[in-house]
């Protein structure tokens, strides 16, 4: 965590550009006293190492600083943007796991026959197509042409968000008993979630297929077949369980990536998530904003690793017996 703050901090300092120039207007820039005052306000007048120490000190007290762009506390910003991404990423990983595993298993058990060939072709396309292109195409086809899905954003224009509990609109709406609103929020999530899921589905499908085929070569699978078990039971009980070990590792990283926000997809679908926030902070050289996002993303990956480790123990009960 400390390493992450150090690296983000240093890299941000190395980027050429003056935050003041980006955040103050042209006329303000021509007045040195305003510029100096602005720098002093954000502590940018001090030497860089001192700035870092001050930042760390604040961080220890839970203060992520103030965004130069939104002029609000970074923690307030993140609390608003992160749940939107969490909601989107959760729906996306949900689709990815269901279809990734399903297609992967089908491909593996029908190896080199037509279902496998079809799935391999589609997933190869899935990993090769750039997401930004896919976002635009989906947006054009399913929203603009077919109107299957509602417009941009998290809700229809003019609709009030449910009062915040988790910050995830679908969950909050359900908790408040506003089921129509929850349904609307869910419909808004669908299109960006599908676009995000396509790549992850493709990756998980290919990975599931490969890891099942590897497990199938094991002696214990042959031993299970030698016992005359139905093939479906052999796959379900003897093959899938060990295959899941490597699948959850990949799924964990994929979920982490989704949670870190997708700048492109969030921009195309005007999704006010962490990806958009990171993008805007970087463009504005908003140091506290960038640092805030870095810390959240680092935290996400550390949490995902932890969750994956916990998942291991559920998948492989022999680990619990030492």
């Amino acid at each position: 965590m400390l390493g992450i703050t150090f690296i983000s901090f240093s890299v941000t300092q190395l980027v050429p550009g003056d935050p003041a120039a980006l955040n103050l207007g042209q006329s303000a820039m021509s007045d040195p006293t305003i510029v100096a005052a602005w720098r002093a306000k954000y502590g940018l007048d001090k030497p860089v190492p001192e700035q870092y120490i001050i930042y760390l000190n604040h961080l220890l007290h839970g203060d992520l600083g103030q965004s130069q762009q939104s002029r609000r506390a970074v923690s307030t910003d993140l609390a608003e943007y992160f749940p939107a991404t969490l909601e989107l990423a959760t729906v996306a990983i949900f689709f990815s796991l269901i279809f990734g595993l399903l297609f992967g298993i089908i491909a593996a058990v029908t190896r080199n026959r037509w279902p496998d060939q079809v799935i391999r072709f589609i997933t190869l396309t899935g990993v090769s197509v750039p997401t930004f292109w896919l976002s635009l195409v989906f947006f054009y086809v399913f929203y603009f042409k077919l109107s299957w899905f509602p417009s941009n954003g998290r809700l229809d224009p003019g609709v009030d968000a449910p009062s915040t509990i988790t910050g995830m609109y679908t969950v909050d709406a359900v908790l408040h008993g506003q089921f129509a609103l929850a349904w609307q929020a869910l419909r808004h999530i669908m299109l960006p979630a599908i676009v995000l899921a396509i790549y992850t589905i493709a990756v998980l499908t290919r990975f599931t297929r490969a890891s099942i085929l590897e497990i199938l070569n094991n002696d214990y699978v042959r031993a299970a077949r030698a016992k005359g078990l139905p093939e479906s039971l052999v796959i379900r009980r003897h093959v899938l369980r060990p295959a899941l070990l490597s699948i959850v590792t990949v799924a964990g990283v994929a979920f982490g990536n989704l949670l870190a926000g997708s700048v492109l997809v969030e921009n195309v679908f005007s999704w006010p998530g962490i990806g958009q926030y990171a993008y805007r902070s970087s463009i504005g050289l908003d140091l506290p904003g960038i640092m805030g996002v870095s810390i959240v993303v680092a935290g996400i990956f550390i949490t995902m690793n932890l969750l994956v480790d916990i998942a291991y123990r559920f998948i492989d009960p022999s680990l619990r017996h030492g």
Binding site: A223, G228, L233, R237, P317
Partner: protein, 329 residues
């Protein structure tokens, strides 16, 4: 009627260059309660023969000939038909107990799943039966063993569990593919004793596959020696070990350690067996044999039959004279 009648059984495996013969026109029979040893080097088709009898060959393998088990034809079964026989009437114990038990499933699951599938008994009953089987193979504290995982047992213990698992549905035929090779010598002896006792108690027939003639001599009644997928010699174990007629069998016997001998190095057979799919017409061993003559290659070697079903495939028959001399003396 014999329990198992194998006639002209051939197995061809698909390779990059086409089909290669792994088992070449094999014939043998096995009666109830008998132990047949199949001996040969790696790649001689021993394991392939066993896998054929369980329908577990790799995809695209071609099987011809006939193998009748209890009057039922085994060749040409569909996967569904195989499932009814596997683990139920014919069971198998594999070479490496370290890898043939599932690492993530409890012994209980692995011991009972095929009992539930084949015998249609409840899980509760299956657990009771499994405990008895574990006692039968001398596993201490069977209740605790059932709740454990493979990694908690030593190699010998795992192989005992594998044997118990194989016997769970009371099969008539047990295929033991080098069941003691991966184990320590002392543990090995224990496994052999166990198999022999189980054979008597359960009226089992066993096909015991190994490259170790020393192991075979202590446990089998009949012996089948394979080389490059073909039978080279077969008959009663005692006859073959005392008076082998094929130079390859003699070579295998010579390569056993001789405690009384002064020689420090073990004898070995020079050269390598022919590659899969490149077996010559005529005797496959001719290239490595010290008695090779012109008549060894070019045409099929006809079998020579002796008394007690002793049979061998050698055109030269170098040990014939010696054999007769011994008889005269």
């Amino acid at each position: 009627m014999a329990l198992l009648e194998v006639n002209n059984l051939s197995v061809q495996l698909q390779t990059k260059t086409g089909f290669a013969t792994a088992v070449d026109r094999l014939s043998f029979t096995l009666d109830t309660g008998e132990i047949l040893g199949i001996a040969g080097e790696s790649g001689s088709g021993k394991t392939m023969t066993a896998l054929t009898l369980l329908g577990l060959l790799p995809q695209h393998a071609k099987v011809t000939g006939s193998a009748k088990f209890d009057g039922q034809e085994l060749v040409g079964r569909t996967n569904k038909q195989w499932q009814q026989i596997r683990g139920n009437n014919i069971a198998m114990v594999f070479q490496d107990p370290m890898t043939s038990l599932h690492p993530m499933l409890s012994i209980k699951t692995q011991m009972t799943e095929h009992m539930i599938t084949h015998l249609g008994i409840s899980e509760k009953q299956a657990v009771i039966d499994a405990e008895e089987l574990l006692i039968d193979v001398r596993i201490p504290d069977p209740k605790k063993a059932l709740a454990s995982y493979a990694s908690q047992f030593s190699g010998g213990m795992r192989q005992r569990i594998c044997i118990a698992m194989a016997l769970a549905c009371k099969p008539k035929l047990l295929l033991a593919d080098e069941p003691s090779t991966a184990l320590d010598v002392t543990v090995q002896a224990g496994i052999l004793t166990l198999l022999n006792r189980l054979r008597e108690e359960h009226h089992l027939s066993i096909i015991f596959i190994t490259h170790d003639l020393g192991v075979l001599s202590s446990i089998t009644n009949k012996l089948l020696v394979l080389y490059a997928g073909r039978e080279v010699e077969s008959g009663l174990t005692s006859t073959i070990l005392q008076r082998p007629r094929h130079p390859y069998t003699q070579g295998l016997l010579d390569s056993l350690p001789q405690p009384e001998s002064d020689e420090k190095l073990l004898k070995s057979i020079a050269g390598f067996p022919p590659e899969l799919g490149k077996q010559p017409i005529g005797c496959a061993f001719a290239e490595r044999c010290s008695f090779t003559e012109a008549r060894c290659s070019g045409k099929e070697i006809a079998p020579t039959f002796l008394k007690d079903d002793h049979k061998f495939f050698c055109a030269v028959d170098p040990y014939a004279k010696q054999d007769r001399q011994e008889v005269e003396a």
